[in-house]
Symmetry: C2
Subunit: 197 residues, 2 copies
């Protein structure tokens, strides 16, 4: 009934491997032969583990999004104020960039194209969830007088969303700058601006 560890181990290994390749070279530019080469097997052998190249990407993205939104739900459930919630969500996002850079990169770079396939319909749902999350935080914050009243909430949402995720392009998990450092710096700019008082 339970999955045997050994079975999932090889799958997970191959998924991690292909996630890195997808992130580096892009989904379409990564061939099944590339993946197989990296794994030290032949391309046909991949199809013992997976139905298709597409299903590999699916599994990678699904796993990532499930974990990410699990974290978001915990934060929202904690039910702190808008500002604390915003800070926690931003911190959690940068943390996911730190821990799963490949998955974030794939989500960033390939989602737009994959979303068009029926199989990846859930990406649209996740986007809607994400948008709702941010709109709630920002709207609550404006209502409570924590955020400026003249904000275009929809626009601010887009700015935050894009700015946070796009950091995956330059963030180095092994670098001296930690994810929480980046989050603090970013929140400093976002909340108080770069202009001197």
């Amino acid at each position: 009934m339970r999955e045997v560890p050994v079975k999932t181990s090889r799958r997970a290994e191959l998924l991690t491997l292909s996630a890195n390749l997808f992130a580096e070279r892009g989904y379409v530019s990564t061939t099944v032969r590339d993946i197989a080469d990296a794994a030290g097997i032949l391309s046909g052998s991949l199809y013992h583990h997976f139905d298709s190249k597409e299903s590999m990407a699916d599994e990678i993205i699904t796993g990532f999004l499930d974990e990410l939104f699990g974290t978001y739900e915990e934060i929202v459930a904690a039910d702190h104020g808008p500002r604390e919630t915003l800070e926690a969500v931003v911190a959690a996002s940068f943390d996911s960039i730190h821990r799963r850079p490949a998955e974030v990169a794939i989500y960033q770079n390939e989602a737009k194209h994959l979303m068009q396939l029926p199989r990846f319909d859930y990406l649209n749902q996740r986007n809607a969830e994400f948008r709702k999350l941010w709109n709630t935080i920002l709207t609550d914050g404006v209502r409570d007088g924590v955020f400026r009243a003249d904000l275009d909430v929809e626009l601010v949402y887009r700015f935050i969303r894009d700015t946070v995720w796009v950091a995956v392009r330059w963030y180095n998990p092994e670098g001296t700058l930690s994810a929480s450092d980046v989050a603090k710096q970013y929140l400093g700019i976002l909340l108080d601006g770069i202009a001197k008082r």
Copy 2:
């Protein structure tokens, strides 16, 4: 000696067309047959106008970057203060998103991969120029007391760069929100933050 208008017209037509396709579907996913179909000709006929698919992308990106950096140079040459320069550069960038969304999208999405080809070495140079531009503006601003002293200039540069360009993903040139509207909102957040005083 001079190029005949008709000659460049057809080229320009095909370039605009392929730029749109590259932006929508991505460079690798756009086939020469896709481009030819959109132009109403056969794929082989494209090679009367261009050496290769790669040279089409090259010409598109080069044209865009030359224009963009021309504008930047004018702004820097005007030699206003750091804050005004920053505002002008941001405004010019959003304006280029408005006028050439396809080119910006291509630059955003494909530069990373194209840069690895010797032919596209100039992308690295342009990146260096861009970085220098922003570092100068920010460093000068900190020196003059216009920007906060505790800024990590390198980090702020990355945030601004990415945030501005990534807007091409959602900005709609035909929408109600103009490029200067977006620039104003963005500068409001960047300079003064979203938190209420």
